[in-house]
């Protein structure tokens, strides 16, 4: 009798053990299936995004030299290089921050507005990237959006102004995977170009540059008092500043 009792108890304990084991197995299998759906970057599904041609910036009265100090990703996207999850995914080959920096630097350089190094610029740009890639669209097409905010800082006076730039692009949806990649790439490149143009040809940048450089030009005259030097150009201003420091 005692043996029967023990046998029953064992059977009962086996049942109790099997139920959680089954749950754990189901969870493991389901997580494996989810992982299998997660797209992985491969050379086939990776796109290279860059500006087709540098965007010509607007003309400034006194052409300043810009330097991009840093580009910070503020999108909050855990996978910034994954631009499309469906159909095996579409990935960027570089971080969006790198792409944005390259695009702006390339455009500034083409117009001779890029400073050679961090020591020589008039204005320093600090870029906060809020969106880079595809955004929610109608489903009938791809909606590309690049959005960033730029802090323009005068190195000498430490004053700064914030400006915003946004670029959008809409491209047709596609069915074939190859066409999807092509359209997504064209779409993001279009949005990037639009955003860079919006920044470099925008009235916000013009006003910020005018305000920041005007302040710098006026600063020595306001502080001097004993010298009636009208600062017309940059070099005269620098000479005046150095003389003032010597005194």
């Amino acid at each position: 009798m005692a043996q029967w009792g023990v046998a029953e108890a064992r059977v009962g304990s086996h049942r109790v053990v099997f139920v959680p084991a089954g749950i754990v197995l189901a969870c493991a299998l389901s997580s494996l299936s989810v992982r299998a759906d997660e797209p992985k970057p491969t050379p086939e599904n990776t796109i290279h995004v860059q500006l087709a041609a540098p965007v010509p910036p607007q003309k400034f009265a006194k052409a300043p030299k810009f330097f991009i100090s840093e580009v910070i990703d503020r999108s909050g996207n855990p996978q910034p290089m994954l631009v499309l999850r469906d159909r095996g995914g579409v990935f960027l080959d570089r971080q969006p921050t790198e792409i944005a920096r390259e695009a702006i630097e390339q455009s500034l350089k083409s117009a001779g507005l890029l400073a050679a190094d961090a020591a020589s610029p008039d204005l320093v740009l600090q870029i906060y990237l809020f969106h880079f890639g595809l955004a929610q669209g109608s489903g009938l097409d791809f909606f590309g959006k690049v959005e960033f905010s730029v802090i323009v800082k005068n190195v000498k006076t430490e004053e700064s102004q914030q400006i915003e730039a946004k670029g959008t692009s809409i491209a047709n949806a596609a069915i074939r995977k190859k066409n999807i990649q092509k359209n997504v790439q064209a779409n993001i490149e279009g949005a990037l170009e639009d955003a860079v143009r919006n920044l470099l040809r925008g009235t916000q940048l013009r006003e910020a540059v005018a305000a920041l450089l005007k302040d710098r030009a006026n600063a020595p005259t306001a502080s001097s008092g004993d010298m009636a030097v009208v600062i017309g150009d940059e070099e005269r201003g620098k000479r005046f500043q150095s003389r003032l420091v010597k005194r």
């Binding site: 607007q58 955004a135 929610q136 669209g137 109608s138 489903g139 009938l140 909606f143 959006k145 946004k166 670029g167 959008t168 692009s169 809409i170 639009d194 143009r197 919006n198 040809r201 925008g202 009235t203 916000q204 013009r206």
Partner: protein, 168 residues
């Protein structure tokens, strides 16, 4: 005779293409601004962005403008007189009723959007046209589809308004 037939055929084939050719761009630039909304209009923040993008896309398709520039972009002084700015206000949005749309039909329960759009010349801010746009779509479609329809309608109306202005 054969030559005459060939010429005739070529003329017949070329004639519809020439008639359907889009008008040449008459304005240098057009700037579409983000539409504002009156109090009480409940639309997602992404809607304004999408409407702006779609409007720019549709304005480009009209072939009436050499360039569709982004909001806040500078325009050369020489081009300012030949450039237009499009501003708009979303005055009313009804999200519709799926049940009414399915049971009653005939336009009942439709999702609707009303907008007031102003087209002005960039140089002197002269009014080139005031458009009242009203878009209705099925409540089964999302906001972005509505934005697409609205942008298409606005671009069409802008094109008509500017053409009429040019004629008159």
């Amino acid at each position: 005779m054969r030559l005459l037939t060939t010429v005739l055929l070529a003329t017949l084939m070329a004639a519809p293409g020439a008639a359907a050719k889009d008008p040449e761009a008459t304005y240098k630039t057009v700037e579409a601004k983000h539409f504002t909304r009156v109090e009480g209009v409940e639309l997602s923040p992404a809607f304004a962005d999408y409407l702006y993008a779609e409007l720019r896309n549709e304005l480009g398709k009209t072939k009436l403008f050499v360039q569709v520039i982004g909001e806040g972009e500078a325009v050369e002084d020489t081009d300012a007189a030949n450039s237009v700015v499009i501003q708009g206000v979303i005055t009313e949005y009804k999200k519709g009723n799926r049940a009414a749309d399915a049971i009653i039909g005939f336009g009942a329960g439709m999702r609707s959007l009303k907008m007031d759009v102003n087209v002005t010349r960039r140089s002197d801010h002269q009014d080139l046209g005031a458009i009242k746009s009203h878009v209705k779509i099925s409540p089964r479609w999302n906001e972005e589809v509505m934005a697409k329809a609205a942008a298409h309608q606005i671009a069409h109306e802008v094109k008509n308004a500017l053409k009429e202005k040019a004629k008159g």
